[in-house]
Symmetry: C2
Subunit: 201 residues, 2 copies
DNA sequence: ACCTGAACACCGTTCAAGT
DNA sequence: ACCTGAACACCGTTCAAGT
């Protein structure tokens, strides 16, 4: 008589687990988009049709869930940064990077804040990605400064913080169109009238 | 025989209640300064030496507590706004106002966020004060715009939001000196090099 | 009148039991 | 191996009882 198949991988079970995983991600994405990054995990599990324990099994922390959710965007961002390093003029490349960074931080309410606090916590699941974005900005800034197209006294932490601050600002009037680009251009050009308003002697 | 003094105000009791009130305020101020606006109310009550119920009796909501705590600063701000309306040049008056507003929002961690969300909620205890600040900025902005010293396309909501965003930004690196003024000057002047860097044709 | 703290409510997290 | 949900922990809020 044969023993019960103890070593045969239970394929159906695995694929079922995979499905739970995908459902959880989809529901998390929807919930984060709607209610921000601190949406209830219990609600997400319920919407995905699994127990709360299953959510925790797949994603031991909220950050871990967020990390998976943002993984693709982070890859995109890194590719774009690499391209911008070669793009001209350097000042415009930097401006584009700021816009890309801020738009990303504005994806979910609360994300800008989370990215900033991640930068302070090496153990965070998002730390490496966040650090990489920060470093990319550093290079773009240095190049723009060498070309005389960005203030010489700026540093990359300020730049990263300001991009996130503009995303934060655009969260502050929900229900309206996204203001991130508008705030960025105010930041980039300053609040004083431009040179077109200035009458030269 | 005289009846027991039913109508005599029980002064000692009242002054004791008054003391509790003052202790609560002092401890709340300390806790908010240290841990931000969402510090535990239970801890504040304990530090003040009263039961949690006493805290709730005096301050039915966290916002009510915050409102009393900020009452004097709000008065100061309104006075300063009135003076700035008469100050010259209008562009500098506006810049000063932004600095004052942002410095206030940077008093406690989380305050900038609270002020912004207050502006959306008419029922909030802070709503009137917040609205007044917003209105003061409106006047200062209009005057600076008429003098050609502020971008013509700015509106006062953007201005208020940006001042708070700079306070938010300066919360993002705790343990260092306050960066609010630095961020404000970057915002005001823009990230591009100033005219001193520009070579005219 | 004022204060207290146990009780309640809510939500995030863990883990023993089940398949 | 994977899932479940009751149990636990935590913290903010209320309210019956006490002075």
């Amino acid at each position: 008589m044969m023993t019960a198949e103890p070593r045969v991988p239970r394929r159906p079970m695995r694929s079922h687990a995979r499905r739970n995983y995908e459902h959880l991600l989809a529901q998390a994405r929807a919930a984060f988009a709607e209610q921000g990054i601190n949406a209830s995990l219990e609600d997400i599990a319920r919407a995905a049709g699994v127990g709360i324990g299953t959510l925790y099994r797949h994603f031991p922390t909220r950050q871990a869930l967020l990390e998976v959710l943002l993984h693709d965007s982070f890859n995109d961002l890194e590719t774009q940064a690499r391209n911008l390093i070669k793009a001209d003029p350097p000042g415009e490349a930097l401006a584009s990077w700021l816009r890309i960074l801020a738009a990303h931080a504005a994806t979910y309410r609360g994300l800008a804040e989370a990215l900033m606090s991640t930068l302070r916590d090496e153990r965070s699941a998002l730390y490496a990605s966040c650090q990489a974005l920060h470093a990319a900005g550093d290079q773009l800034l240095a190049r723009a400064q060498e070309a005389g197209e960005a203030r010489a006294d700026l540093d990359s932490w300020e730049l990263f913080t300001l991009a996130n601050a503009m995303a934060w600002a655009s969260e502050q009037r929900p229900g309206t169109a996204d203001h991130t680009d508008r705030f960025l251009s105010l930041l980039y050009e300053g609040l004083r009238p431009g040179m077109s308003h200035t009458i030269s002697p």
